[in-house]
């Protein structure tokens, strides 16, 4: 199950050399700096809804705009939260794409896109 190697390299890729490169560890760290806190955040934010609805119903049933209560707005805000986090990810990831290209170019691999 050998995969075809990228066109730039005829000889096998030296994965270790890339992995030891400081730019590679910087890239991995930069990803972790966003992914880990964001993941913790959306898990907490999401479960706050069933926890709130399940154990603090009086609070969640408070009306805040017309007949719409906190529970409803909180559920709606989850959609907004998901879209905002997705947008943040896309912005951050385009930075990672640039670092990736620079890193790979350093080792002589040019990506074609």
């Amino acid at each position: 199950m050998k995969d075809p190697q990228p066109s730039a390299a005829d000889k096998p890729i030296d994965w270790h050399r890339i992995q030891r490169d400081p730019d590679f560890s910087a890239l991995v760290r930069s990803k972790a700096r966003l992914v880990i806190p964001a993941t913790v955040f959306f898990i907490v934010y999401y479960f706050a809804l069933p926890i709130g609805v399940g154990w603090f119903p009086e609070f969640m049933e408070k009306k805040i705009w017309g007949d719409m209560n906190i529970a409803y707005f909180f559920a709606l805000s989850q959609f907004l939260m998901a879209w905002v986090l997705a947008a943040i990810y896309v912005v951050a990831a385009s930075g990672w794409d640039r670092s990736e290209r620079t890193l790979l170019a350093k080792f002589g691999y040019t990506s074609k896109h």
Binding site: M1, D3, P4, Q5, P6, I13, W15, H16, I18, Q19, F24, L27, V28, K31, V35, A38, T39, F42, I43, Y46, F47, L49, P50, I51, V53, G54, W55, P57, M60, E61, W65, G66, D67, M68, N69, A71, Y72, A75, L76, Q78, F79, M81, A82, W83, L85, A86, A87, Y89, V90, A93, D97, E100, L103, L104, Y109, S111, H113
Partner: protein, 509 residues
């Protein structure tokens, strides 16, 4: 209208069949699907009849609680976007098992991954087939449940066997567009009844009259949570299944191999999130709309919960709109079963047949595709037979719940460990997959869905317990084995997953 959709999709299948040759074309549509196309297709794969008809019905009958499902379905995509999509695309060829087999001993890992993939797909598919049978019977008088199941089954087999991934993708795209336009139109019709005044719309919902099971009339505020979900732990468990299961659903994961690179995989998740989010917000308009314009009793008396959305369309838009919404629901089911069939048959052909039985080599060129076509046929036939044996009255919600729970408890832990945990080994992966799978099934068998009031396990969805069990099993399995996985391979996977170096490229024209 059914016929127009069927005819259009068959034409697509015909052209796809002429275009697609070779394994990459058949399994991954040549990796040439663009971001927005794949986004629509992911959304198409995901927005099943259970969401369209089921959630609308649930909101129509019991209000707010149904909306909680909608929230989980969207937020789950953050797990896909942040954790799974890009590494998966960078390090695999056709299936989830490709990523696992990188570092670990391929045969046992692929066999176990293939088993869990097939289980998830087949359970999910049977749920959809039963739903399809019931729906078509209600929509077209004179067609029996059995005939409807066979009809849906035959169509999906035709798409997958002849058209492969390209045809399946276009079926998803068309379906997603139809579903979105139908939903938007229905939502607008609902809001028009209230002169587009949201305040008025929501005020109506505070006093919905319905008949309780004991025959007395009750008036309930449909914006109040907790009208059906009495046990908060049920909600937590369901939420876990959705949040962590979506990222392990094989028919969603397989879609990321149809795009040229990780960047496109990312943009397709974002497209999907926009579409899925809008769709689930709209379910509240027609769910709540059905509750206030028709009332739960009317819904119950006219086709039951699942027919709330089509009946609402009939009431607001007449017979033509009823036919359109019904055709959309039908298209939805067809597209989802086609997506499931292709993921099941790909896993069987690529993971089990080629890599386990034939040691990773094709004996003859084209063999893998041939096996996948045969597998699609067999899986389709099997699903038809099981759906007919189970009959129209089986509870399909638990089948879907099971699919999500297995995906979360078996697939997700091993995927995460194989990217992030250096010590993770073959034993851990196999034990994790099998124990995650077995514990989900076992917990469902002793849950209230199966045992009623005497259930040993109190929750409807096993995820709360089975996900930790899946993770623990993978950890314990790893530590019990002396096998030390190759450091080189871990380094290689890290570089691949993070940079996309060496990833599968689009096939040339």
């Amino acid at each position: 209208m059914f016929l127009a959709f069927v005819a259009a999709t068959l034409v697509i299948t015909y052209f796809s069949a002429r275009k697609s040759s070779g394994a990459s074309a058949y399994f991954a549509a040549g990796r040439r699907i663009t971001g927005w196309q794949n986004g629509l297709a992911v959304a198409g794969d995901y927005m099943s009849a259970a969401s369209f008809l089921g959630i609308a019905g649930m909101i129509a009958m019991n209000g707010y609680d149904g909306f909680m499902y909608s929230v989980g379905f969207l937020v789950a995509y953050l797990t896909v976007l942040y954790i799974v999509a890009e590494p998966l695309r960078n390090s695999g060829k056709y299936t989830m098992a490709d990523m696992l087999a990188y570092r670990l001993s391929p045969k046992p890992v692929r066999a176990a991954a293939s088993l869990s993939t097939l289980t998830v797909s087949v359970f999910y598919m049977i749920a959809q087939m039963v739903g399809a049978g019931v729906l078509v019977r209600q929509l077209i008088p004179g067609i029996s449940y059995e005939a409807a199941v066979v009809g849906v089954g035959v169509l999906m087999v035709v798409y997958v066997v002849f058209g492969g991934m390209l045809a399946t993708t276009w079926v998803q795209i068309i379906k997603a567009v139809l579903l979105m336009s139908g939903s938007i139109f229905l939502s607008v019709l609902v809001l028009r009844e209230y002169q587009f005044d949201l305040g008025k719309f929501f005020t109506q919902l505070t006093a919905i009259e319905s008949t309780a099971p004991d025959g007395t009339k009750v008036v309930r505020n449909f914006l109040t949570p907790g009208l059906i979900f009495k046990n908060p732990w049920d909600q937590i468990s369901l939420g876990m299944a959705l949040l962590f299961g979506t990222a392990g659903l094989p028919h969603i994961l397989i879609r990321f191999y149809t795009v040229p690179d990780a960047k496109t995989a990312r943009s397709s998740v974002v497209w999907a999130m926009a579409i899925i989010g809008l769709f689930y917000i709209m379910t509240t308009f027609f769910g709540f709309g059905a509750a206030s314009l028709m009332g739960p009793d009317y819904v119950q008396a006219n086709g039951g919960t699942n027919m709330a959305a089509p009946e609402l369309a009939r009431k607001l838009g007449g017979e033509v709109f009823f036919a359109f919404i019904s055709a959309v629901a039908f298209a939805t089911i067809l597209a989802v079963v086609a997506g499931l069939t292709i993921s099941a048959s790909t896993s069987f052909a690529h993971d089990f047949f080629t890599n386990v039985i034939h040691h990773g080599k094709e004996h003859r060129p084209g063999q893998e595709v041939l096996v996948a076509r045969i597998a699609a046929f067999v899986v389709g036939a099997l699903a038809i037979v099981i759906a007919i044996i189970l009959g129209p009255s089986v509870n399909v919600a638990f089948l879907v719940g099971l699919a999500f729970a297995v995906a979360a408890s078996a697939n997700l832990p091993v995927m995460l460990f194989s990217i992030f945990w250096k010590r993770f080994n073959t034993n851990g992966a196999v034990v994790g997959l099998l124990v995650g799978l077995a514990s989900s099934i076992l917990l469902i068998l002793i849950s209230p869905d199966f045992m009623g009031e005497n259930a040993i396990f109190p929750l409807k969805n096993p995820a709360l317990l089975s996900i930790p069990i899946g993770f623990l099993a993978a950890i314990i399995g790893t530590l019990l084995s002396k096998e030390v996985p190759s450091e080189d391979k871990f380094v290689e996977l890290q570089v691949r997953a993070n940079t996309g170096l060496g990833a599968e490229k689009a096939t040339e024209h």
